[in-house]
């Protein structure tokens, strides 16, 4: 081979360049301690490094969320523990007061202490965390509870589940005014409130003194001095009917329960759930219709036992049925309203919004935590077609889960059940029988839970709602309803209120009953403590998983990204040796020429 001089020099320069480039790369790796310094170093690796970085930052965020939730739930737990302590004290006091040897004065002084405890529990229920009410659902800006008064009567009925239903509850519209003491009302006449003249007397000092009053027909307000009790027309009283107004706390926060209606005995009437908070299923049936008067009854135990008859009337095509837990309005009634007879429906489940279609009877049943959209994919004639093809979306219509089918029973009083995440959508026809392809329904549970994402796609509710811990009462424009309408013994404020009343009234039987209430409340609060504890445990274990995950992600990222220092050093040494060799050999050959020898 012929070698031109330029070739020699070109190759020296090339070799030197190659050598220095490698050295420079290695020295950059040494200074950054990373072997991937720019995307071209390892394109796939770079993309994986970025993905790891994202997931690590998400993991850190989740851990951050967990620590926030931990603080909130920790505070909740502490609050519940203090509440529990106070309840225990209340129980001690009640047991003491139940002692036969205790005098009226003794009991009165105990009632004073119980008032204190009541206020303290109320303060616990209004606990704030960073300026936010922790028991008020989404309405964090306000206090969860305010002081108020509630009513109970001696007219009760036992359900098959062993709970007492207070028959006055559906008739209470509102209580205006304030009183530090409980108020006792005794009726001396028989009659129906709003229809008859009724004599009554009341006492604000535990029965020491009474004030006589008369309620004229057409009037539904009971004047109790500083307090006015507003009733709905229709409550039947007799000579031994007694009412007691006792202290309670009115929940002002957000609640979760707003029921849909399932009509059992089919009618073309529209039944719309209205005000209220039904936390158990309420079954309602209309038993008689006489002109504009409607007679109905309700059951809290799936129709085992029915309440006394209640009455309402139809005006302007509408009738409001008062129920414990809230009201239901029937709309678009014809003048005679005879078609109401035998109407039977159940309140419960979740209200369904019919989007492109209407006048079908719909209700969603289940435990929904998030909004679900349901879309019917093929035209359906509900009277004739045996199948409904549908899709649903849990992300507000971004993506649809397609290809679901539900059987359609075609009969008017049976419901087709469309299974969706969280429960099912039940629907049947009324005057409207056709659903067009593309028609949609939205199931929107009323949510008050404050969630936080604790790991990818996993949310944890970090708040408890006041009523599920403390009970108390809800106030609606049309009524004052207790929480736990079917299980009043779980209602903490109601129990304390009744206990205080019994003490003030020097009513030993009442104290015994109050004692049971307090026991029930203690159990409910422990249940809630257990649920909080379980969540705290879940947070703890999730945090552990997350930090392990973070470690392993970091390690995997490191495997791609970080240099092996020992390897790098040996490479550097090797490269240095190569460079020196190139320098030496080229400088040696470069200097040689034939010219030197001639």
């Amino acid at each position: 081979m012929r070698v031109a001089h330029n070739m020699l020099f070109d190759s020296y320069i090339r070799q030197l360049n190659q050598s220095t480039t490698k050295l420079q790369n290695l020295s950059q790796q040494a200074s950054t301690q990373k072997k991937v310094n720019r995307p071209a170093d390892n394109p796939v690796g770079m993309s994986r490094i970025l993905n790891y970085r994202d997931s690590i930052s998400a993991l850190q965020k989740f851990q951050d969320n967990i620590s926030g939730a931990n603080n909130k739930l920790g505070l909740t737990d502490k609050t519940l523990q203090q509440t529990q302590d106070m309840l225990t004290r209340s129980k001690e006091l009640a047991v003491q007061a139940a002692n036969e040897t205790y005098s009226k004065e003794n009991r009165e002084s105990i009632s004073k202490e119980l008032h204190q405890i009541f206020d303290q529990v109320l303060a616990q229920a209004n606990t704030m965390y960073e300026g936010q009410s922790i028991f008020a659902g989404h309405k964090v800006q306000d206090q969860a509870y305010t002081r108020g008064l509630a009513v109970s009567s001696n007219k009760t009925q036992e359900t098959s589940l062993g709970h007492e239903m207070d028959l006055v509850t559906p008739y209470v519209q509102d209580i205006e005014g304030e009183s530090n003491n409980s108020i006792r009302v005794e009726f001396s006449d028989s009659g129906t409130i709003g229809q008859d003249d009724i004599d009554y007397r009341y006492s604000t000092d535990g029965g020491d003194s009474y004030t006589d009053k008369t309620m004229s027909s057409g009037d539904t307000d009971l004047d109790l001095g500083e307090v006015t009790l507003r009733m709905h027309e229709g409550f039947k009283v007799d000579g031994d009917t007694e009412l007691e107004l006792y202290p309670t706390a009115i929940y002002q926060g957000d609640d979760q329960n707003k029921p849909g209606v399932e009509i059992l005995n089919k009618f073309d009437t529209l039944v719309e759930p209205q005000q209220g908070s039904f936390d158990s299923e309420v079954q309602v049936r209309v038993t008689d219709v006489d002109g504009g008067d409607v007679e109905y009854e309700y059951s809290l135990d799936q129709g085992e036992k029915w309440s006394d008859k209640l009455y309402t009337n139809v005006s302007a095509g509408e009738a409001t049925l008062h129920l414990p837990g809230g009201e239901v309005r029937l709309e678009e009634l014809s003048g005679s309203s005879t078609d109401l007879e035998d109407l039977e429906f159940t309140l419960g489940g979740t209200h369904v919004q019919q989007l492109n279609t209407e006048n079908l009877q719909t209700v969603a049943v289940g435990d929904f935590t998030d909004k679900v959209l349901v879309r019917v994919d093929e035209d359906v004639d509900l009277e004739n077609d045996a199948e409904i093809k549908y899709s649903y979306s849990t992300d507000q219509g971004r993506s649809w889960e397609e290809g679901n089918t539900a059987e359609n029973p075609t009969a008017q009083d049976e419901y087709a059940e469309l299974v969706v995440p969280g429960g099912k959508l039940k629907l049947t026809h009324t005057t409207e029988k056709d659903i067009q392809a593309g028609d949609q329904f939205s199931i929107q549970p009323r949510q008050a839970g404050i969630d936080t994402e604790i790991s990818q796609g996993v949310r944890l509710q970090q708040n408890l709602l006041g009523p599920e811990v403390f009970g108390g009462h809800y106030k609606n424009p049309e009524g004052l309803e207790p929480a736990f309408e079917s299980e009043p013994q779980k209602n903490l404020f109601l129990g304390l209120g009744k206990l205080i009343t019994a003490l003030e009234q020097n009513d030993r039987e009442g104290i015994q009953a109050g004692l049971q209430h307090v026991d029930g409340a203690i159990e409910q609060v422990s249940n809630m403590q257990a649920s909080t504890g379980a969540r705290l445990n879940r947070l703890e274990s999730t945090e552990k998983v997350l930090s392990d995950l973070e470690m392993s992600e970091k390690e995997r990222k490191g495997n791609i990204e970080d240099v092996d220092f020992a390897e790098l050093m040996s490479q550097l040494t090797q490269q240095r040796t190569i460079y020196q060799a190139v320098l030496k050999s080229s400088s040696m050959i470069m200097r040689m020429s034939l010219v030197d020898y001639i």
């Binding site: 070739m7 995307p39 993905n51 957000d254 949609q440 936080t452 010219v595």
Partner: protein
């Protein structure tokens, strides 16, 4: 007279030849470092023999010609490899600038900005009513938007920089072509085969050809002894002997090439730009405009394959006039129309829309051919176009690489905006609206929302569905009526229809201003939006977080920017209430971080990835493109280096060799001189005999 005279003659010839040989060697030594110089040597030949007694006798040596040592075959290979090397070198150099844009360190870059954006939605989810969490989110969102925009702007800057480079390259190529033609002329004038070799001119031409092949791919064909024809690899003649043809770098334009039986007399015109070249061919003949206009199919690779729509059918556009101009598919903003047509378009009529500047080859002053490099659908180079040299590198970088990155960045921005807006528009903030103006504009409010004619950027993302509105009493804040529902079918409903539907609702009025929908609550009321399975709100930019649809114009919705209370964190709940502690919308948006969403680009089709992964894969694309360019550059560099070395084996000067030659020729010269002195002495001897 033979005898001593002939010895003198032989000596003279020998002296002359040795001197010429020494000169040649000297020239070699002098030019040892001259680029492009090829080694010369003197070809010696024995002089003609003379028949005499005792037989044929030589007449010495003749210096015949100066030979240039050069391997044309190796050179041909060298030019091919060098043109590829230059292409990749130019790509590598430019891609490294892009790589810097996408270099995401731990503390900066788009990846980090995006991660922080999601984190702040989580943070807002923890404290939905907190003003500071809201303003922090706005800050991070703005940061993300700036980063996207700067990246896009820098890409655009690199792209327009390419135009300058290309312009310079084209000028230089024209210059070189002229010089090559001129050199050919001189070679023809001066060269006499076997006698006078134009070695210096040949070297010069060779250098010019090497320079030219750095810019573009060329083929060199020998014609006769020294004449050459230079063409592009695709076959367009650049230099033919003394003639040369020009290249031109020209701005965007459109051409027509009609089928033989067409009477069409109009012109095609367009507005907007794209990094693609479009070929339109009449698929169904007809008039321009009217009730049944001609339909044209669309190709991006010069008619090799035709674009299909999403359902797999042939995609066609209608031939329309300026007023009803048609948007071309897969372009940010490119519309075509026809002008001055009195005759029908015939089947097979073709139109080229070149919505970007390109390089053209002028065969004559009136006839030109587009030779702008273009990749085909299968990724190979179009064989009728340029495919090598820095020009191909620059065009490829400008149109494919940057074009591709920008397309992905645009898609990323649009999907980011759409997905966030989709959730945001169905949420509620700390305040309800008294009126709200949609920020996305429709060109024609009477056309169905999803149609191209409506000109609504996000129109094709809408679905049939319904939207809920809630009306509140302004003084009490209580729910007045809700949800009120309107149904939307984007394939049949226009913006006007939507406005009419909204006007049918209680306490709500809607109007259209300049193609934008405004929804207002009546006096004394305010409104909030519920679920919207149609995507109408996001599509029209009502109650959205972002506005805009591409990397350049994606911005915060002005409403949100000016009043952070309008950042949706909550949702209207089942009771029709909006509560400040509700964080569902904020959490939903934060969860987008880990959700797979659908992306569609021309180059990659449909993919399902999370937004982060998509952006990360864009970084990886840039990285692997750079790595590929680096690799190819290195590869071709080694090949050209090798071929160059093989050429230098022939043509390079070795000083040792020249030194040896120097001594050899010097000795020959001394010997020749000795011959002459010997002859002289012989002559003297003869003359002395007489005395």
């Amino acid at each position: 007279m033979s005898g001593i005279g002939s010895i003198l003659d032989i000596g003279r010839w020998a002296l002359f030849s040795s001197q010429k040989a020494l000169e040649t060697t000297g020239n070699n030594v002098a030019n040892v470092d001259t680029p492009g110089y090829s080694r010369r040597s003197l070809r010696l030949e024995e002089g003609p023999a003379i028949d005499k007694v005792p037989g044929q006798m030589g007449t010495g040596v003749r210096a015949k010609e100066i030979i240039r040592h050069f391997d044309d075959f190796v050179e041909k290979q060298y030019l091919t490899k060098q043109t590829d090397q230059e292409r990749w070198a130019s790509l590598e150099e430019n891609l490294k600038s892009v790589e810097t844009l996408f270099n995401n360190s731990e503390s900066s870059g788009l990846n980090q900005a995006l991660a922080e954006f999601w984190e702040h939605w989580q943070e807002l989810g923890k404290n939905p009513e907190s003003g500071s969490a809201r303003s922090a989110l706005l800050g991070k969102a703005q940061n993300l938007l700036n980063t996207i925009q700067i990246t896009d702007t820098d890409l655009g800057r690199l792209q327009s920089q390419m135009d300058d480079f290309i312009e310079q390259d084209v000028q230089e190529a024209n210059d070189l072509l002229a010089q090559i033609a001129e050199t050919n002329q001189q070679i023809k004038e001066k060269g006499i085969p076997g006698k006078n070799n134009p070695n210096e001119l040949l070297d010069k031409r060779n250098n010019l050809l090497r320079d030219l092949s750095k810019i573009m791919d060329i083929e060199v064909q020998q014609r006769g002894e020294w004449d050459t024809v230079v063409t592009t690899r695709a076959g367009q003649t650049l230099v033919d002997g003394r003639e040369h043809y020009d290249l031109a770098f020209e701005s965007a334009q459109a051409f027509k090439s009609l089928s033989s039986d067409s009477d069409f007399d109009g012109q095609i015109d367009f507005s907007g730009s794209s990094s693609q070249e479009y070929t339109l061919e009449v698929h169904q003949e007809g008039d321009v405009g009217g009730s049944d206009p001609a339909k044209l199919k669309v190709s991006l690779d010069g008619g090799r394959t035709w674009l299909k729509d999403e359902s797999g059918d042939l995609l066609t556009i209608e031939a329309r006039e300026f007023e009803d101009r048609q948007q071309l598919p897969q372009a940010r903003d490119l519309q075509v129309w026809f002008e001055d047509a009195t005759q029908e378009l015939a089947k097979g009529d073709r139109f080229q829309v070149m919505p970007k500047s390109g390089v053209y080859w002028y065969e004559t002053t009136s006839s030109k051919e587009n030779i702008t490099p273009r990749p085909l659908a299968n990724g190979e180079d179009d064989p009728r176009r340029l495919s090598g040299g820095s020009l191909s590198g620059e065009f490829g970088f400008r149109d494919n690489y940057i074009g591709g990155y920008q397309e992905k960045l645009d898609e990323f921005s649009q999907v980011l905006g759409w997905e966030v807006n989709r959730l945001h528009s169905q949420g509620a903030g700390l305040q309800n609206f008294t009126e709200v103006l949609g920020v996305e504009k429709a060109q024609d409010t009477g056309e169905p929302l999803s149609s191209a004619a409506a000109g609504l950027e996000l129109g094709n993302r809408l679905n049939p569905g319904s939207m809920e509105l809630y009306v509140y009493n302004r003084s009490t804040g209580n729910l007045e009526k809700g949800p009120q529902v309107i149904d939307v079918d984007p394939d049949t409903d226009s913006m006007q229809d939507v406005a009419d539907d909204l006007n049918g609702l209680d306490h709500i009025s809607a109007s259209i201003h300049n193609g934008q929908l405004q929804v207002s609550a009546e006096d004394g009321y305010e409104l909030a939006f519920g679920s919207d399975s149609s995507g109408l709100l996001a599509g029209l930019g009502i109650n959205t977080f972002f506005q805009g649809t591409n990397a350049q114009d994606l911005a915060l919705n002005g409403r949100v920017k000016n009043n952070q209370d309008f950042i949706s964190t909550a949702r209207v709940n089942g009771a029709g209430e909006v509560n400040p502690g509700d964080n569902q919308t904020a959490l939903d948006i934060a969860e987008l971080q880990s959700q797979k969403v659908s992306f569609h680009t021309l180059r990659e089709g449909h993919t399902n990835q999370t937004l982060q992964e998509y952006f990360n894969s864009l970084s990886a694309d840039v990285g692997s493109d750079t790595a590929q360019a680096e690799y190819n550059h290195e590869y071709f560099k080694t090949l050209t280096g090798d071929l160059d070395a093989r050429q230098k084996e022939h043509s390079g000067v070795n000083l040792d060799e020249e030194m040896a030659n120097l001594i050899k020729h010097q000795q020959a010269y001394t010997a020749a001189a000795k011959l002459i002195t010997t002859a002289e002495q012989m002559m003297d001897t003869l003359l002395q005999m007489k005395q």
